[in-house]
């Protein structure tokens, strides 16, 4: 009797639970990822959805009320160094990463932790550019983390428990993961870092359920493969071409569009004569087979460390299905995403390396742009006109927003033998002697014409990405620690908040219980902002 009563009571409680929290326990299927526009309250991939446009359809926070935005919560990661994460939000739970391969889940309304995980890293990892991570992918009941020691790990979304943990590459030879993976179909797609160490770059796809590798696409073709002839001698073995930023997925053509980085050594072309495919390229891969449909190489035989790893953004305009990229080399490229054919390439920052274009319309390097032993000045500098900071495209304004930097560097070669696991630049670069300080901007571009519609100049160049929202706003951060909301149409700043730490991450938006939030990482913390309670 008594047992039955307890059982009945428990059932009632559980029923209540499931009614109240049904969404929080739903699985994130591939169908949901494909149709993310049906759930604008959630942020399901690194860039928000498969298009890469980092646009939130939420409009509760808008031009009329942005001035009233207020901090809702702050989550301290307890880590030092650069925090580059973009969180995911699914049905009220926020999932993000932090330095040294931390991952965590928070109550997205309050910032209170649900679970925390930290991968045990060996003491001798050698990530080039900070012990950073840019985020997670989610599929079904798992989130996926790439680590600085070359692991890919699946964590349980409810507990953070490790479901599987595989070693993709040997960190001792310079391989690492910093990228947010992308879940496509039943796969976890991830690209490797290590262009500073003479790795042979690749993009991998793993079975999300088991961690079994389904395919690997080497971004430097081996003997007998097309493109292999673009490498001198054995240089392909240490050719670089990493793939360290998140690509997109086009269901229309069933293609993963993933960008690649610099050939190794980054600033010395001697010894790797040729175009060095597929470094600094956009690759269209079939997720079912891992085979390449087409490629477009932005910078051939790069000698300036101009990784083309910027997030590519799918834009549909005038009946055309396009993919656009604001490239580190200073040009904004628009490409037909079915064929890989270049449509336009326009400079969007200060450039001196190219005065001419080839028959396809691709900017080609001036001879005198090559680094020399004595060194000479080239714009943009090694950090590029933009870099890993995520751009945004707003379908309402039809504008592309990108963080840009005007800086020139003196590029000089430094011949260096390859040694496994050792830094392998073959180069040195310095700030140019010009008295001009570096300048940083948020630029709004017409992606069709390349025309800069407006620009907002920062006090100094920032590493922050950009978010556009249906509220007529763009959000970005600055190097001095401000989080800023601007009018998407004019660039007029409407609101700002001093977060006390420089921004190296990109903002995102979500909603819980009908209330919109905007979140961004700065310093060592994650911040969420919203409108005041009435």
């Amino acid at each position: 009797m008594r047992v039955r009563e307890i059982f009945a009571a428990l059932s009632t409680i559980c029923l209540g639970c499931s009614l109240f929290n049904s969404a929080a326990n739903a699985q994130v299927t591939f169908e949901r990822l494909l149709n993310s526009e049906k759930e604008p309250q959630n942020w399901l991939t690194y860039s928000g959805d498969y298009t890469g446009r980092r646009f939130s359809p939420l409009d509760q926070i808008n031009l009329a009320n942005a001035h009233a935005l207020t901090a809702k919560w702050v989550y301290q990661t307890g880590a030092t160094g650069k925090l580059e994460t973009t969180p995911l939000v699914v049905d009220g739970i926020l999932y993000a990463t932090a330095q040294d391969d931390r991952a965590f889940a928070l109550d997205a309304r309050t910032g209170r932790p649900i679970w925390m995980y930290q991968h045990q890293l060996p003491g001798d990892i050698r990530p080039c550019c900070g012990r950073v991570n840019r985020g997670l992918a989610i599929l079904d009941d798992k989130v996926f983390l790439g680590t600085l020691d070359g692991h890919v790990i699946a964590l349980d979304t409810k507990t953070g428990a490790v479901i599987w943990d595989i070693v993709a590459a040997d960190y001792r030879t310079g391989y690492s993961f910093t990228v947010a993976p992308l879940a496509v179909k039943n796969l976890v797609v991830i690209g490797v870092s290590g262009g500073e160490y003479g790795v042979r770059g690749f993009i991998d796809a793993y079975d999300a359920a088991t961690g079994a590798r389904k395919w690997r696409f080497y971004t430097v073709p081996g003997p007998g493969e097309p493109g292999h002839e673009t490498w001198e001698g054995d240089s392909w073995k240490i050719g670089g071409a990493p793939a360290w930023n998140t690509g997109t997925y086009d269901s229309g053509t069933n293609q993963i569009l993933w960008p690649t980085g610099n050939p190794s050594p980054s600033n010395r072309g001697e010894g790797r004569a040729g175009d060095n495919l597929y470094s600094n390229s956009l690759l269209a891969l079939n997720p079912d087979t891992g085979k390449m449909n087409w490629y477009f190489q932005f910078t051939k035989h790069d000698e300036h460390d101009w990784d083309a790893t910027q997030v590519p953004v799918m834009i549909d305009s005038g009946g055309k299905h396009l993919i656009a990229q604001a490239n580190r080399n200073g040009f904004f490229y628009v490409i037909d995403r079915a064929t890989g054919k270049l449509i336009s390439a326009n400079a969007y920052g200060k450039i001196t390396w190219s005065d001419t274009k080839d028959a396809e319309g691709r900017p080609i390097a001036n001879k005198e742009a090559s680094p020399t032993l004595e060194g000479h000045t080239v714009c943009p500098g090694a950090l590029g006109t933009t870099n890993f900071m995520a751009p945004a495209f707003d379908p309402q304004t039809s504008l592309f927003y990108v963080t840009a930097r005007d800086q020139c560097d003196i590029f000089s070669t430094a011949p260096q033998p390859y040694e496994a696991g050792h830094a392998y630049y073959g180069s040195a670069y310095f700030p140019s002697e010009e008295a001009e300080p570096y300048r940083g901007f948020l630029k709004a571009m017409d992606p069709v014409t390349g025309e800069i519609k407006w620009k907002f100049e920062h006090t100094s160049p920032t590493w922050s990405g950009v978010l556009a929202t249906a509220g007529g706003l763009v959000f970005t951060g600055d190097a001095e620690g401000n989080f800023i909301a601007l009018d998407a149409a004019s660039g007029k700043p409407l609101w700002h908040f001093q977060m006390g730490g420089a921004v190296y991450a990109a903002p995102m938006a979500f909603a819980v219980d009908g209330k919109q939030y905007v979140a961004i990482a700065a310093g060592s913390a994650l911040y969420a902002f919203g409108l005041p309670e009435k």
Binding site: R131, P415, A423, P493
Partner: protein
């Protein structure tokens, strides 16, 4: 007490030969860090030169002659390291409180192996030999000029004495090249303290000249202590600090024309400037 006892027991139980081996091993390990195995080796110096270009030249300049940020390493006298072992420690672990990072394999960046660090030290030693000997100026006269006729101390502080509007210069003689200091005196606007992070500050200050007119019509001219997109913190020549919100100002102008006057040779002779540099160097490399 308990721990001490435990330790003693451990040592007692360990055979004497093992203790001896351990001591020998420790001695060998520490000796390896003291002596440059490549000292004087021309091939190692060449490898070190390229390592230097890649990892060090950004701040210390090509040829180790110093850059905007890092000291001239061709000077035999260095502030933070004299022996090879000290140089090794500084390169490997960095200098806390300065922008010199840890460059060993445990550092944040790409990391250099012990071998690579020794090669760089071999290269630096070679560059030292090559560096021309310079006639040293009169330190006492340089100090007298700094606090007297040259009026430097109206704006600059050295060892706790002097003004506050310009950069604090106690360490400048150790961290900037002689040429950079001379250039800063002769052409103060050619390059502000651009890219310099002072050891005592968390953020780079460039000493740009800012002129504002406040809402009530008051004009203020001073150097920027800090600035972001929305605020500016200024100090004027009377060392008054102003904390301003840009949107509340009637006008805001920023210039890279330094508030420091140009010291042409007719104001400060080459000999006097040499003495001034000698003074700053003597303080900065102490």
């Amino acid at each position: 007490m308990l721990f001490t006892k435990h330790k003693v027991q451990l040592v007692l139980r360990t055979p004497a030969w093992a203790v001896l081996l351990a001591i020998m091993f420790l001695a060998t390990a520490s000796r390896a860090d003291d002596h440059n195995p490549y000292a004087g080796d021309a091939k190692a110096a060449k490898a070190g030169e390229f390592e230097f270009r890649i990892n060090c030249a950004l701040c210390h300049g090509l040829g180790a002659h110093g850059g905007g940020r890092g000291p001239d390493l061709t000077r035999a006298q260095k502030k933070h390291a004299h022996s090879d072992a000290e140089l090794f420690q500084v390169i490997s672990n960095g200098i806390p409180g300065t922008v010199m990072p840890a460059n060993g394999t445990n550092g944040q960046g790409v990391g250099m192996t012990d071998e690579e660090i020794w090669q760089i030290i071999t290269y630096i030693r070679r560059q030292e030999v090559k560096a021309p000997a310079r006639p040293m100026g009169d330190v006492a006269h340089g100090k007298a000029l700094f606090y007297g006729d040259a009026n430097c101390s109206l704006c600059h502080m050295v060892e706790g004495k002097g003004g506050r509007v310009g950069p604090e210069l106690t360490a400048v003689g150790g961290s900037r090249t002689r040429e950079a200091i001379i250039d800063s005196v002769r052409n103060p606007s050619r390059r502000l303290a651009w890219g310099l992070t002072e050891s005592t500050k968390e953020f780079p200050q460039e000493y740009e000249t800012v002129t504002v007119v406040t809402a009530d019509g008051k004009q203020i001219k001073g150097v920027a202590l800090n600035e972001d997109n929305f605020t500016v913190q200024l100090m004027d020549t009377s060392e008054q600090i102003y904390l301003l919100e840009k949107e509340k100002l009637r006008s805001f102008q920023k210039s890279r024309e330094s508030m420091m006057p140009r010291y042409n040779p007719d104001i400060l002779s080459d000999k006097d400037l040499n003495d001034l540099v000698a003074y700053l160097t003597s303080v900065g490399t102490k």
